[in-house]
């Protein structure tokens, strides 16, 4: 039985994947990870499909004992990860064996981290997803945040054994995001931009906003200069996208995140662009945000460029079985070409395995 044992749960640790899609029309929130970038990278580092279920830990990380072999990666915010007593580098895969222990010493940057293990977390798939939606007691591990004593089942490792002994530097990446206490988020104009006065829009784009203590997976309440409406703050309810910036009557913006309700009745001044959502997801109380406007076309170009970078990382991390194991195909018996000093004499099979007899001369 491959398992993770939760010794201490941390502040809020949940099982998440890419989210529960297709049920918003029934009022079911998408949920899923807050920071899709750190999530996908954690999975790619350990050789998983990018959308496998992982743990999302918040501010104060959990303490975990592994009863499984494979690769482990922690990405996202720096919560002070410690592996078997030694500091654990982030954005890097390390081999894990039964009895190993992961703990967290305290937050240094960001807000939440992602803990991926090869094989993924095998909680039941409910409505197409393994994500936890705690307000609806839905999905994840028993529909709730993890508690001490919980055991989570880990899937079979998709990695060939050779990958587990690969040098660490082959399985690490340099993240595209850095988490600072002051950040600028790019936004596109929201569907109700015309509900705000010119002055209100100027305020929003020129003044800083501070993240309040009321920030969770549902949304981030900000405080700063109140944003003036032109024609009232209430609308007939419509849909809410990830990163929507709602401004209720009090004039303070709320950025809607993974566990947001599917519909809502407040004016939306803007929407954080997808490529900047990881920065929003890693903001914490006291951090200062500024907003700057881009067009939808620009936002989609930025997104496409980010996805291309991720595809390149994915390619670099992909395990090429021909590099890992002896060649199994008759036409590719050797990774080397013939040279004046090296000649392949003949090929044969023995016990079902292909071999090549090669003569190499040493250079003087």
């Amino acid at each position: 039985m491959r398992e993770l044992k939760i010794i201490k749960p941390g502040l809020l640790t949940t099982v998440q994947d890419a989210g529960r899609k297709g049920f918003q029309q029934y009022g079911v929130p998408v949920s899923g990870v807050m920071d899709h970038y750190a999530f996908e990278m954690a999975n790619l580092l350990v050789g998983n499909d990018a959308a496998e279920a992982v743990l999302e830990a918040t501010l104060l990380g959990p303490e975990i004992v592994f009863e499984a072999d494979g690769l482990l990666a922690v990405t996202g915010g720096d919560l002070g990860a410690v592996f078997n007593g030694e500091p654990l580098p982030l954005w890097q895969a390390v081999p894990v064996t039964s009895g190993d222990k992961l703990a967290f010493k305290g937050i240094r940057s960001g807000c939440r981290c992602y803990i991926a293990i090869s094989g993924g977390l095998q909680v039941p798939v409910i409505m197409g997803s393994r994500s936890t939606y705690t307000r609806g007691n839905l999905g994840g591990h028993q529909g709730r945040a993890l508690k001490a004593g919980d055991n989570l089942s880990v899937g079979d490792s998709p990695l060939p054994a050779a990958a587990l002994t690969q040098p660490a530097e082959k399985r690490q990446i340099t993240p595209a995001y850095q988490y600072a206490k002051e950040i600028t988020l790019r936004v596109v104009p929201g569907p109700q931009e015309d509900a705000f006065s010119t002055q209100g829009l100027e305020t929003f784009y020129q003044q800083p906003y501070t993240v309040t203590n009321e920030c969770d997976r549902m949304g981030y309440r900000l405080e700063g200069t109140p944003i003036a409406h032109e024609a009232g703050a209430d609308i007939i309810s419509d849909g809410i996208a990830m990163g929507a910036v709602q401004v209720p009557g009090h004039g303070m913006p709320i950025v809607m995140m993974a566990d947001r309700q599917t519909t809502g009745g407040y004016t939306k001044i803007a929407n954080v662009i997808s490529a900047d959502l990881p920065l929003m997801a890693q903001a914490k109380p006291g951090d200062i945000l500024r907003f700057t406007k881009v067009t939808v076309e620009e936002a989609q170009h930025i997104w496409a460029a980010r996805q291309q970078e991720m595809a390149a990382v994915k390619k670099a991390l992909a395990l090429n079985p021909r590099e890992e194991t002896p060649p199994a195909h008759e036409n590719t018996p050797s990774a080397h070409e013939n040279t004046p000093y090296r000649k392949e004499l003949f090929r044969f099979r023995r016990g079902g395995r292909p071999y090549a007899l090669v003569v190499e001369e040493l250079e003087e």
Binding site: I236, D238, T262
Partner: protein, 249 residues
């Protein structure tokens, strides 16, 4: 309803088609027709449609289709809506226990409207209610068309926990709590039928654009339903909606 539909960006992965700025059956019909047209057209890159009172949010993958191109295709489809044959909406009959422990505010609603409790139940069960949208909590239907004669303001102090299945009135709206949640609606009854069951093959009972009709049941009826409810084989009676119909199958 607007003369020209507004196309509004909602970030770089979604757009909103806004058909009007009111709650009206005609808008809901147009949303249903547009949903069907989009499904039939099978536009690559659209991942989810979220209908609401007066708009529809369309979630899409910008790597598969640009916002501009999607808008162009949607405008074209909108011109062809007259050709869309909408199937008749379905009416789902919701068996409901009224009053007593199941509907602690039935007397308040009766008193507020100077009616007997029986008259409130009759009025509440006599109409078919259009499901404008689902939201608030998983499976919660926003219903339209309640008789104004039983309209009652919300509770001054909301309850901290309302049992899932509770049927309530808030102003001129009626609705059903889909899960245990806090809320300020006047509770007149309760249905034992789950509107939301994540483990079921169809996790959500209702769908926007269809109708709901309440049917008063007795405690004995409820007892008789229990075995089927427990093994998840109970299915609500359904019938096709006929405009101007008397509300009976």
């Amino acid at each position: 309803m607007y003369e020209t539909t507004r196309y509004l960006a909602a970030g770089d992965h979604a757009l909103v088609m806004e058909f009007g700025n009111e709650i009206a059956d005609a808008i809901n019909q147009k949303i249903r027709a547009m949903s069907l047209a989009i499904e039939q057209e099978n536009i690559q890159g659209i991942s989810e449609l979220v209908p609401t009172y007066r708009s529809m949010m369309i979630h899409y993958d910008p790597l598969m289709i640009s916002g501009e191109n999607l808008t162009r295709q949607l405008r074209r489809l909108e011109q062809q809506l007259a050709d869309i044959q909408l199937p008749p909406p379905r009416v789902t009959v919701i068996p409901t226990l009224y009053g007593g422990e199941y509907g602690p505010d039935l007397a308040t609603v009766a008193g507020h409207n100077q009616l007997t409790e029986t008259a409130v139940i009759e009025k509440h069960t006599s109409r078919e209610y259009l499901i404008y949208m689902l939201g608030f909590t998983p499976g919660f239907p926003y219903l339209g068309g309640m008789d104004p004669a039983i309209a009652t303001p919300r509770l001054a102090t909301p309850r901290t926990k309302i049992k899932g299945g509770s049927v309530g009135i808030a102003g001129s709206q009626t609705g059903i709590y889909s899960i245990d949640s806090p809320g300020g609606w006047q509770l007149i009854g309760w249905t034992p039928v789950p509107l939301y069951d994540p483990e079921a093959a169809t996790p959500i009972l209702l769908k926007a654009g269809n109708y709901v009709k309440f049917e008063a049941i007795t405690q004995a009826d409820y007892e008789a339903m229990k075995p089927q409810l427990q093994n998840r084989t109970y299915t609500c009676r359904e019938y096709p909606f006929t405009p101007g119909g008397d509300g009976h199958a």
